[in-house]
């Protein structure tokens, strides 16, 4: 009787133990691949050391496989990488090697930590993904790229969790210390604050998405930069 109860209780979780990292990633890709395009409103919140900038809002556009653009009026500091680039990497399991690096709880959700290393030429050198075991979505991503260094993305999901579309994305970016010669800035009487460390600091940018419209027609011109 005890044995039967034991199996009844653990049987539903057995598949989690059995899943290979590739299978975990494939499940997530399957969810996201239902999205051919989307547009949404986005509020952007900045917390950048040495940059004072007001929060702003705009529109986000995505078109499969890898076009992403935020359109807004005025000056904005945005992450260099397309935050959905990781799906371009994991869609074909022959293009990467993956390793399971244990598990960690983020909020209430248990996550499997999967490291992904591309096989061929790719801007991404390595991606470390915290894949939710119940949502099958990446709750945290640490992406190391050749061009842009290390970027940490923390995702919060809501209504569109089945499509792996986050309600909130929080980017943590390494920043170089901003310094301009006093003469160039004509900032003659300012005494810069002395800071310890190597002049590097971390800044965060938060995207809060709202009013997603999925699989809608989006012109390619939306993704082009103005004047180019």
């Amino acid at each position: 009787m005890k044995k039967a109860l034991f199996f009844l209780f653990f049987l539903p979780f057995a598949h989690l133990q059995a899943q290979t990292p590739n299978q975990i990633l494939y499940k997530s890709w399957q969810q996201f691949s239902r999205i051919k395009s989307f547009k949404s409103e986005v509020n952007i919140y900045f917390n950048l050391p040495s940059v004072s900038i007001e929060d702003m809002s705009g529109k986000a556009f995505y078109k499969a496989p890898s076009k992403f653009r935020i359109r807004l009026k005025g000056i904005a500091f945005l992450p260099k990488d397309n935050p959905f680039n990781v799906y371009t990497l994991i869609r074909d399991s022959t293009q990467y090697a993956s390793v399971l690096n244990g598990s960690e709880k983020i909020g209430n959700e248990l996550c499997k930590i999967v490291s992904v290393i591309p096989n061929g030429e790719s801007d991404i050198v390595m991606a470390k993904l915290w894949m939710g075991t119940t949502t099958n979505c990446p709750l945290k991503m640490q992406i190391t790229s050749r061009e842009n260094g290390v970027i940490l993305i923390e995702n919060t999901y809501g209504r569109f969790v089945k499509n792996a579309l986050p309600d909130k994305m929080r980017f943590t970016v390494d920043m170089n210390k901003f310094k301009v010669p006093k003469a160039l800035a004509a900032d003659i009487n300012n005494t810069p604050k002395k800071s310890a460390g190597d002049g590097k600091s971390k800044g965060t940018i938060e995207f809060v998405f709202a009013n997603y419209t999925l699989n809608t027609v989006i012109e390619d011109s939306v993704f082009k930069e103005e004047g180019k």
Binding site: S50, V51, S52, I53, E54, I70, L72, K73, G74, I75, A76, F77, L78, P79, K80, N148, G149, V173, D174, M175, N176, K177, F178, K179, V180, P181, K182, L184, A185, A186, D187, I188, N189, N190, T191, P192, K193, G203
Partner: protein, 279 residues
């Protein structure tokens, strides 16, 4: 009193040196605008290159607000000289020209004469600021177009939204006028002491230069005296482009500058009322 002020305005208008300021501002502004039209974007990209390594910076285009701001912070160092050219000559010019005696034979008090001269010099300064505002800011907006303003500091960056720039610029021009009024009052005081008009102009500029140099050095002993130098407070107009707005600091600096004006003008009144003009 109005007649006296009108006479003083005519005197300022009749002197060719009064137009040097307007011509100099026109030349400097046009040269800077042409240079920035040619290389402004490259200049801006160079200044923010450390941030460009970490972020995709959207919408950081060279625009009229930025050009206006750059010109304003460049010219604010030269403006006191242009103002002192006129205000430093106000009393000493009469002494040098020998007209002071006939001026003081009029049935008006010496204090009224000083006030009339001071108000006329202030009106001249106001016109100079307006001229600067029209050329540096409004003309730049017309040529370069509007946009968000990037305020560059030596260790940080402030982004001011386009919609938020008008009141900031107007307030900055207002405080810049107050700053220049300190220069007017100082050169006015020196003008009362001097027998020729060159000395007050040179001394005014020397004082500003010395105080500015002290303000530039980040040396502990200088840091102690910086708050007492009026040049430290003369650049408070820049604070209108800060966020959050340092209201207390602006009010304090405005108060200190106003106090300087009162002290310089009072000293001028006291000295001029006792001045022996018979020799």
């Amino acid at each position: 009193m109005l007649d006296l002020i009108r006479t003083e305005i005519f005197k300022i208008a009749a002197k060719p040196r009064s137009y040097i300021g307007f011509a100099a501002i026109f030349a400097i502004v046009v040269i800077i605008q042409i240079a920035l039209y040619a290389d402004g974007q490259a200049y801006l990209d160079f200044l923010i290159q450390s941030l460009n390594q970490s972020f995709e910076i959207e919408g950081m285009d060279f625009n009229g607000n930025l050009v206006g701001f750059i010109i304003l912070q460049t010219l604010i160092i030269q403006m006191p000289l242009l103002v002192a050219l006129v205000s430093g000559d106000a009393i000493s010019g009469e002494i040098q020209g020998g007209t002071i005696r006939s001026l003081l034979t009029k049935p008006v008090s010496r204090s009224r004469i000083v006030w009339a001269k001071f108000i006329a010099a202030e009106l001249y300064t106001l016109l100079l600021i307006l001229w600067l505002g029209i050329l540096a800011w409004i003309a730049s907006l017309l040529f370069f177009g509007p946009g968000d303003l990037v305020v560059l500091k030596s260790d940080s960056l402030v982004i001011v939204r386009n919609a938020d720039t008008v009141w900031r610029f107007l307030s900055a021009f207002g405080v810049a006028f107050l700053s220049l009024s300190v220069v007017v009052a100082l050169s006015f005081l020196l003008s009362a002491f001097a027998e020729n008009s060159i000395a007050p102009i040179i001394i005014t500029m020397s004082v500003i230069l010395l105080f500015t140099i002290i303000g530039t050095f980040d040396i502990p002993v200088f840091n102690q005296i910086k708050p007492f130098l009026f040049t430290t407070h003369m650049i408070v107009w820049r604070n209108f482009f800060d966020r959050p707005l340092p209201v207390e600091q602006i009010a304090q600096s405005a108060g200190i500058m106003a106090l300087h004006i009162v002290v310089f003008l009072s000293a001028t009144l006291i000295y001029f009322n006792k001045k022996d003009i018979t020799q």
